[in-house]
Symmetry: C2
């Protein structure tokens, strides 16, 4: 292969090693990048008021990444993160990931772009470009503790999960990814975003209920069926065919989409055949 290798995986992150370039995200970052103060207590009046304000803004405009990310310490406080780590530890591959702490690492976008079509890396960079994603938008999180690793790895894997699951970057697609994440990782953050997403749908986007519910159901089914993606060394798989990576992790998109588009499901017009019900007068 003549193309330059798109990326080497970074070593397990330590304070001594300079952080690799942050992973990309498509979501609008409305303020200056700011590292969330993970593990810090949020239980003081000012922090609570800020959290409530962020929650209200995120409910109204779920695309405001800063507000959504700012909810992480509220929706998944330290004690919840500890339980999450313990649950993940019971999985063989996730437990291994906590030892090696693989990161997405430095992104050589030009090298990824030069990869053959249908590779994970090329699909990834195509996803970034198609959705006008700014690769520098997300803060780089360090991973010195297990809890920090969960947050950091989930954040930097977010767009890889988009590519693997085929969810678009719409609000519906984001809810689909969170349902997938809830099924895979059992993250309270994901559950909080789902609850907020349905509340947003009720208050501001009722006409999108079908699209969003379908995405949630799709994400849950995919997440339940797939092997755990948590802790996967994506940096080693850029050159692998996307279809092969999906197969490796049990991501059978066609099977789940077939369930949702079941030909048994009668069309809107056919759903009401006159003969389906007995006559309605007694």
């Amino acid at each position: 292969m003549s193309a330059p290798r798109p990326s080497g995986c970074p070593p397990a992150s330590t304070a001594a090693v300079p952080p690799p370039r942050p992973c990309a995200s498509h979501i609008r970052w409305t303020g200056r990048p700011q590292r969330p103060r993970l593990g810090g207590t949020m239980w003081n009046p000012v922090a609570n008021a800020r959290a409530a304000w962020r929650m209200a803004r995120a409910l109204r405009d779920p695309e405001k990444l800063q507000d959504v990310l700012g909810l992480a310490p509220v929706l998944a406080p330290p004690v919840a993160m500890r339980r999450l780590v313990e649950r993940l530890m019971s999985h063989a591959s996730a437990a291994q990931a906590f030892i090696e702490r693989p990161r997405v690492g430095l992104l050589h976008l030009a090298a990824l772009r030069a990869l053959p079509e249908h590779t994970l890396g090329r699909a990834f960079v195509d996803h970034l470009e198609a959705n006008q994603v700014n690769p520098d938008a997300l803060p780089y999180l360090e991973a010195r503790t297990d809890e920090e690793y969960v947050r950091a790895h989930l954040l930097e894997s977010h767009d890889v999960w988009h590519v693997l699951t085929g969810f678009p970057t719409s609000v519906a697609g984001e809810l689909g990814i969170q349902a997938f994440s809830l099924a895979q990782v059992g993250s309270p953050f994901a559950l909080g975003i789902l609850a907020g997403g349905l509340t947003n749908t009720l208050l501001y986007a009722f006409s999108q209920r079908e699209e969003r519910m379908r995405a949630i159901v799709r994400g849950w089914l995919l997440g339940q069926r797939a092997r755990p993606l948590f802790g996967a060394p994506w940096c080693q798989m850029w050159e692998s065919p996307l279809a092969e990576v999906r197969q490796r992790y049990g991501l059978d998109l066609a099977a789940v989409d077939a369930v949702l588009d079941d030909p048994m499901r009668p069309a809107m017009e056919v759903r009401n055949p006159g003969s389906a019900s007995p006559p309605q007068s007694c």
Copy 2:
């Protein structure tokens, strides 16, 4: 057939006709029965405060029927109910139901109990008894307008839907019914209960997230595939075999349960085979 007919369907409800006995419900009714003031404006400070208090109590204890029902005018205000009626009108069978307004009507529990096993009526009364349902627990709602008919019919059909979909009377089962209702009817009330149910799960019942999400996914899939149940004259079907009624409405429980228990889905232990991932160090 020698058994007495369990029930005749009541005529379309008018002010001149005495209301039939209310339909049953299993949910705890914590206060004295009180007819919700449908269509009344809730937009004054006292009503808002009451709604907020009910919402907080329902979030904490979703089994408190009075609080949940009290949210109906807030989650589905008159303008939302009008749109819901218009959407339903576009379905042939639902449009017909608005003309004839079939009701569940008088329940002769002893006659239903005497029906052969596997009939809808017998399954219904078994469901009431197994779940210690008080048939007098729910308020009887009149149906003089289309909007009133939607609320009244959905309320009195609630336990019939439980029987048809096979959802238990747990919180998970109730969320499943609401997801089913959202898919079938597009009710904002159902969406509000789902949003509240996920918030309750996050705050008070995180360990039940899998059971509840599974029920929501199951309800959505069943509701999407089935023919519309809205406006069905249940009172005419007590003697029909339950399997036949399910088939008539396209409720293929086995197919949906097979999707959720897909044998392709690897077990927890098998989900993490060492060979699934490439080695994690670079």
